[in-house]
């Protein structure tokens, strides 16, 4: 039998708060993977760590701010984007990333999300989409597929979900992509790319929440969901945005990739000389 070896150091020691471990994430949860991609991108960005700020809302994903050894702000449910907006405008030298969940960003914070996209304010948004409200125990939300079972939709969700890339594109976002927690290289590259291009960026990361979403929808194991991503994910080349909706329970392609990358003037406060 192989023995686990305890190592003294970890490559991400410089950027994670070791004194806050163990984290709260359940076994099989994807959030840690996405956090690692972000951490790696921050380290490779060449931007001094001191300039990076991470802002989260509330939810399991929202806890990420508390694990990053950066200036980190864990705000209120849905308000990470406007908080980040104020911060970026007050100090434009900061590289401000919003790291939050699908419910936080697109339900209670949905208004801020579309307006930040429209304004093209220079914050980078990483949205962990696990198709439910994980933290509060698996309720349905605006990304839960029609018919999927959730604790507040015991007979199946009666509502149509958002297709987030389509929504963000319509709101005017200059940069929109989608990966899954399986696509760690692409995801890290994409985050890195968002750092160098000015303006708003929205990166959706499809993620396993075996506890909140998986177990009630026949994907009870995080690994099984990763397997499913491996089998079904397709790079979307020329696929119309309106066809990007997802239902993990259906055997059809899950489109990933960068959908929008257009040069738009990033929001700047108005200046005038005297």
């Amino acid at each position: 039998m192989t023995q686990a070896t305890v190592v003294d150091t970890h490559p991400l020691d410089t950027i994670l708060r070791a004194d806050r471990m163990p984290h709260i994430f359940c076994p099989g949860c994807s959030i840690g993977i996405v956090m690692r991609c972000y951490a790696q991108a921050v380290l490779e960005s060449g931007i001094p760590l001191q300039q990076h700020v991470v802002v989260s809302g509330i939810g399991c994903t929202g806890r990420v701010a508390g694990y990053m050894d950066l200036d980190s702000y864990h705000t209120t449910h849905g308000r990470a984007i406007p908080f980040a907006t104020g911060m970026k405008l007050a100090n434009p030298n900061l590289m401000v990333t919003v790291f939050s969940g699908d419910g936080d960003l697109s339900a209670i914070g949905g208004n801020h999300l579309i307006h930040a996209a429209r304004r093209n304010v220079d914050v980078k948004v990483i949205c962990v989409n696990n198709f439910n409200y994980g933290m509060t125990g698996g309720q349905c939300g605006p990304t839960t597929p029609l018919g999927a079972v959730a604790t507040t939709a015991p007979y199946g969700n009666p509502e149509q979900p958002f297709n987030l890339p389509y929504l963000l594109a319509a709101a005017g976002a200059g940069y929109v992509s989608r990966w899954t927690s399986l696509h760690v290289r692409q995801l890290k590259q994409d985050i890195l790319h968002s750092f160098v291009r000015p303006g708003f960026a929205f990166i959706e990361v499809l993620s396993a929440c075996p506890v909140g979403f998986g177990k009630s929808n026949n994907i009870p194991d995080g690994l099984e969901e990763m397997q499913l991503y491996r089998e079904r994910c397709v790079l979307a080349r020329g696929v119309p945005l309106e066809n990007l909706s997802i239902d993990l329970r259906e055997n059809r392609p899950i489109y990933v990739g960068n959908f929008i990358d257009r040069d738009l003037p990033a929001y700047k406060p108005v200046t005038r000389v005297g």
């Binding site: 200036d71 702000y73 705000t75 308000r79 970026k88 208004n111 801020h112």
Partner: protein
């Protein structure tokens, strides 16, 4: 200059360079003035998508080191209350201006009210203390806006300016002193550089005043700020003891400095036997009524609450020992009267109106005369149980 413009100018004089807001009558002119003035001063004006976003942006700007504010009216303040609580918990200085109108709900958008007094005090969930001032003239709007920023930075907390439509839209002379005469209290900043290893304790209070110095984003302190109950490092700590200690300190840092925060003005109080308590635009009517009552030989004075919160309990309690009667005049149905009665331990006379028009001095005078005649009867110090009389304004 009218009150709303004086507010923006006071903020600018105080060094405020960030305004995030959402238009709402009767506060909109504040945003408009900022929209005009920020570009030439290198500051930020941003019109947010709603008041939830406005206050969040203001807190973010504050965390990045800016003196930041927003302005609204009752309906907008209601939306801001959630993140007002976040500001209290994260101990982020900022100024929230509420130019009150007739309420509840949409109420009287273009007409005055003073009925957000309790919302300002208790609106967000949880036990917390707040600082609030209530100007009675455009000049005082200017001066108190400066004071709000100084208090916010001094106590590391959100501060409210509770104006009203009458004062917001009133045009009077406003003297703007030269920059060097504007008081400026610095935000307390960590006196030490960021630690090479380990964690900077962003919430370790200075034992002298209970207020922790505030490191800003981008300065290298690698802070963590959370609305969850947290320890001195800012790390979440779900323990009842930590929670109790934190919430107690957040209150104590304000309550223990009440004397430094409170601002009161007294008129004709030296030999007074009766006192009118009022604030904001209504205090203007009250002053007139007191003058007229004096002309009739009634020994009445005026206590003007320049600050509303923390409530001047000690002063009112002491007056309760000496005064024969209290008359509270306010454009709401008795919010400050409730506080006064709590302090004096007996009923006060109330002159109230739900809002929409200023309370006429005549109404207050009538109450003063009635109270003077009834000394020893219901509502007076010598009577013990009977209720105070309310006169609707």
């Amino acid at each position: 200059m009218h009150g709303d413009e004086a507010c923006a100018e006071g903020a600018i004089a105080a060094g405020c360079r960030f305004f995030g807001g959402y238009p709402i009558t009767p506060s909109t002119e504040i945003a408009e003035r900022f929209a005009q003035r920020m570009p030439e001063l290198g500051g930020v004006f941003i019109q947010m998508e709603d008041e939830l976003g406005s206050i969040a942006a203001v807190l973010g700007a504050s965390a990045a080191g800016a003196r930041a504010m927003t302005a609204t009216s009752g309906p907008g303040l209601s939306l801001m209350l959630e993140n007002l609580g976040l500001g209290v918990m994260l101990e982020l200085p900022c100024v929230i201006v509420d130019i009150q109108r007739g309420s509840p709900s949409t109420g009287l958008p273009t007409m005055a009210g003073q009925s957000d007094v309790m919302q300002a005090r208790w609106g967000s969930h949880g036990d917390y203390s707040i600082i609030a001032y209530a100007p009675w003239s455009p000049q005082e709007v200017f001066d108190l806006t400066v004071l709000c920023f100084n208090m916010a930075d001094r106590y590391r907390t959100p501060v409210l300016l509770l104006g009203d439509e009458v004062i917001g839209h009133m045009v009077e002379r406003v003297v703007i002193p030269p920059v060097e005469e504007i008081p400026h209290w610095e935000r307390k900043h960590p006196g030490v550089p960021p630690p090479a290893t380990g964690v900077y304790r962003s919430f370790e209070p200075d034992p002298e005043d209970l207020i922790p110095p505030l490191p800003h984003a981008g300065e290298g302190y690698r802070v963590h700020f959370t609305g969850l109950t947290h320890d001195e490092r800012g790390y979440p700590d779900m323990s009842a003891d930590t929670h109790h200690a934190l919430v107690t300190r957040l209150n104590a840092k304000i309550q223990s400095h009440a004397e430094e925060i409170i601002r009161l003005e007294e008129y004709f109080m030296d030999d007074a036997r009766l006192v009118v308590v009022s604030f904001g635009c209504t205090a203007r009517s009250a002053r007139r009524a007191v003058r007229e009552a004096r002309a009739q030989g009634i020994p009445v004075g005026l206590l003007r609450l320049v600050s509303l919160w923390p409530f001047p309990e000690a002063v009112v309690r002491e007056l309760g020992q000496r005064m024969d009667a209290f008359i509270v005049a306010e454009m709401n149905l008795g919010q400050v009267r409730l506080e006064v009665e709590r302090c004096i331990g007996r009923p006060a006379w109330g002159v109230h109106h739900a809002g929409g028009e200023m309370i006429h001095p005549e109404k207050i005078l009538t109450a003063i005369i009635a109270a003077a005649k009834n000394v020893g009867a219901p509502g007076s110090r010598k009577a013990s149980s009977a209720g105070g009389v309310q006169i609707s304004g």
